[in-house]
């Protein structure tokens, strides 16, 4: 039994190993290049070579200040947000065996968003470090609710899961809009509207320190769960025969997905479509094994948000439009294309 479980994913992956390695190495290089290039962009442009020197601590003082105090922390937060959402998407898609399951479609982001907004408004004294925990609780509650409501006749059908996810998301938006329209200070309201769209404006080392622990724990845990995700993809019966305790495993994976997406949403708001696009692209590039898909998706998700944010802060400079606007402009057509081509 144990030898079989151990062998199965490896044997599937053997033919793809070289390609998978190449994809992962390329994604890593792409991430680094994207980071250096986007950090150089802005009102005060810095050449990639100077960015690299500043990162190594050898740049001139003014560009070093811009890089290390202003742009690098924001870029790392953007990358981390994308990574968390992408990892959450990979887990949710594996868990539900549904290519459309993404944190923003099955209600995970909505739960985190509502919890974060309610906490921000009701408890203004709470430190930002506590926010991911609240968002995690909200995400977990919403996803458990969606899962329970989609459960019928001994199973949760993929289409019901999506429909109920859309329902919960609609409800979440209504609650957030109610909160936004009932608060008094306009500055606060405008911040919440930007947060609602998804933004990394003004995020710095403090926000990175808030997000990092969740990713540092969540991403390795997700990677360790890759084999269970591989087994679940074979169907409940086969997975059960391979020794996976299905419902307990699902619940654990759901909590993991909620934690990763919750931390990202707490820091940047519900940035849309990243948790859908990055896993899908990663699966096309890196094949079917979840370890490789997860690694690739995390980096692609990070790059996606990084590039989207670079576009968002430079397109209408000096106005910073929310990064979620850009990801929606890319992501909505992508999702609709996916829907029309999948049905053919």
């Amino acid at each position: 039994m144990t030898t079989r479980t151990a062998l199965l994913p490896r044997r599937c992956a053997r033919g793809r190993t070289r390609r998978t390695r190449a994809v992962i190495a390329t994604s890593a290089l792409l991430s680094l290049a994207t980071l250096i290039l986007t950090v150089g962009l802005g009102e005060y442009p810095i050449a990639p070579g100077d960015v690299l020197l500043s990162l190594l601590g050898r740049g001139d003082p003014s560009s070093s200040f811009v890089v290390s105090e202003l742009r690098l922390p924001r870029a790392l937060v953007a990358f981390g947000v994308g990574a968390g959402l992408a990892a959450s998407g990979v887990i949710l898609q594996g868990l539900t065996r549904n290519a459309l399951a993404a944190p923003d479609l099955v209600g995970v982001s909505a739960g985190a968003h509502v919890a974060a907004v309610v906490v921000i408004v009701a408890l203004p004294d709470l430190t930002i470090a506590m926010l991911p925990a609240c968002a995690f609780a909200g995400a977990l509650l919403a996803s458990a609710l969606v899962y329970a409501l989609a459960w019928r006749d001994g199973g949760s059908s993929p289409s019901r899961l999506l429909l109920i996810g859309v329902g919960i998301t609609t409800l979440g938006y209504a609650i957030v809009l109610g909160v936004i329209s009932s608060i008094d200070e306009l500055i606060h309201a405008s911040q919440l509207v930007t947060f609602m769209a998804g933004t990394v404006y003004g995020r710095g080392w403090q926000e990175l320190a808030t997000l990092a622990p969740w990713l540092a724990i969540g991403l390795p845990l997700a990677l360790l769960s890759a084999r269970q995700l591989d087994s679940l993809m074979l169907g409940d019966d086969t997975a059960g025969a391979l020794g996976v305790r299905i419902e307990a495993e699902r619940l654990r994976l759901l909590a993991l997905a909620a934690g990763l997406a919750g931390a990202a949403v707490a820091v940047a708001g519900p940035v849309g479509f990243v948790g859908l696009m990055a896993p899908h692209a990663a699966r096309r590039l890196a094949g079917a094994g979840h370890a490789a898909v997860l690694t690739t998706a995390v980096m692609l998700g990070g790059c996606l948000v990084l590039v989207a944010d670079a576009a968002a802060r430079t397109a209408f400079a000096p106005v910073d439009i929310p990064v979620g606007v850009v990801t929606a402009i890319i992501g909505a057509p992508y999702l609709i294309w996916l829907l029309t081509s999948r049905a053919r």
């Binding site: 459309l100 923003d104 479609l105 409501l149 989609a150 019928r152 006749d153 199973g155 059908s157 993929p158 289409s159 019901r160 999506l162 429909l163 109920i164 859309v166 329902g167 919960i168 998301t169 609609t170 409800l171 938006y173 209504a174 609650i175 809009l177 109610g178 936004i180 329209s181 009932s182 306009l186 309201a189 405008s190 509207v193 930007t194 609602m196 769209a197 849309g272 479509f273 209408f316 106005v319 910073d320 439009i321 929310p322 979620g324 606007v325 929606a328 402009i329 992501g331 909505a332 057509p333 999702l335 609709i336 829907l339 029309t340 081509s341 999948r342 049905a343 053919r344």
Partner: protein, 345 residues
């Protein structure tokens, strides 16, 4: 089957529901009561006798002004918005053969909202007539996008595809609205209430600007009742009975855009009225389109008027956007319908 048994069966089928005339009397009675309550209740309650006096013998006192010049037009707008959203939802569910179709779920309301916000912020439009025309344009483009998704690919207008595509479209349009509001922060104050759907400040000039579109929607809805019922039997059967599907579907789309666009121009993108109301209407009057549309207009108006009263009273003196209340009422209906669906892989 013997004639007696057939008659008994008919009787039983008939007795399952209340007779139509009684339902209409009950519905209109409830509507009149709710409309009157909407004049009386609010941040400050006004005595019913005083409210009647404001309508028949206006004396210019603060209470009379509140009733006749604030609450009366607001109630009229609530009735119009509710009736048109209810009918638009029923038409959408009939023509897409999908009981989860609704102007707010499929992005049509948000299309109208984006066009209106863009017109105000980018071009600086402030005439009510032009803004309504913009709302129509936005609703038409969004509706065309959804129809394109339905026509492309083999899945047709199946529930999951359509709803997910609608969620994607709504998400994109909402993101664009938010982007515009961030660029132009001054408009945020008004838009943050309007974005959820609100009746605050609704007046007679809004009614006048949207009335032509509402009339067009109502006339088309009345005219297509019979062909739409025939179409419910399937495209092939309808063709055999002499009803060509495409013109009927196109006319229905025009009616949906006119009604949903006008309601957004009146009150913003109010959520889920068009979803919840047809389900309640079908439970009362059955699946025939004609009675369903009548029931939807009455129940839709009732839902929005009562939700607006709740929106004014619940957190008084603060006001909730009415769309928040309708979403909280409508979401359980959406969840119930989604849950009831049998599994089709």
């Amino acid at each position: 089957m013997s004639p007696a048994a057939a008659a008994a069966l008919r009787r039983r089928a008939g007795s399952r529901r209340l007779p139509g005339s009684l339902l209409i009397v009950l519905g209109l009675g409830a509507l009149a009561l709710a409309a009157f309550a909407s004049l009386v209740l609010g941040a400050t309650a006004i005595a019913p006798t005083e409210a009647v006096a404001a309508l028949v013998a206006f004396d210019g006192s603060a209470e009379h002004v509140a009733v006749a010049e604030v609450r009366l037009p607001r109630t009229a707008v609530a009735l119009l918005v509710g009736a048109s959203l209810g009918v638009a939802g029923a038409l959408m569910q009939a023509v897409a053969r999908n009981d989860l179709a609704d102007p707010s779920i499929l992005g049509i309301s948000m299309g109208a909202a984006l066009a209106t916000v863009a017109g105000q912020i980018v071009v600086g439009v402030d005439s009510a007539v032009l803004l309504v025309a913009l709302a129509m344009g936005g609703a038409s483009v969004a509706a065309a996008a959804i129809v394109a998704v339905g026509l492309l690919g083999r899945g047709g207008f199946a529930a999951e595809r359509l709803v997910v595509a609608g969620a994607a479209l709504s998400g994109l349009l909402l993101a664009l609205v938010q982007g515009l509001l961030v660029i132009d922060r001054e408009s945020l104050e008004a838009a943050r209430h309007w974005l959820a759907g609100t009746l605050t400040g609704a007046g007679w000039d809004d009614v006048a600007a949207t009335l032509p579109y509402l009339a067009v929607g109502a006339v088309i809805a009345t005219a297509i009742t019979r062909p739409l019922t025939t179409l419910g039997l399937g495209d092939d059967v309808a063709s055999a009975l002499g009803v060509r599907p495409r013109p009927v579907q196109a006319a229905t789309a025009v009616a949906i855009v006119a009604l949903a666009g006008a309601s957004v121009a009146l009150a913003g993108p109010i959520a889920l009225v068009g979803l919840a109301v047809p389900h309640a209407a079908r439970a009362l009057v059955g699946r025939d389109i004609g009675p369903q549309l009548v029931a939807c207009s009455v129940l839709g108006a009732l839902l929005v008027v009562v939700s607006d009263i709740a929106a004014r009273v619940l957190l008084a003196p603060e006001e909730l956007p009415v769309g928040v209340v309708t979403a909280i009422v409508g979401a359980p209906v959406l969840l119930h319908v989604a849950r009831r669906r049998t599994h089709r892989p």
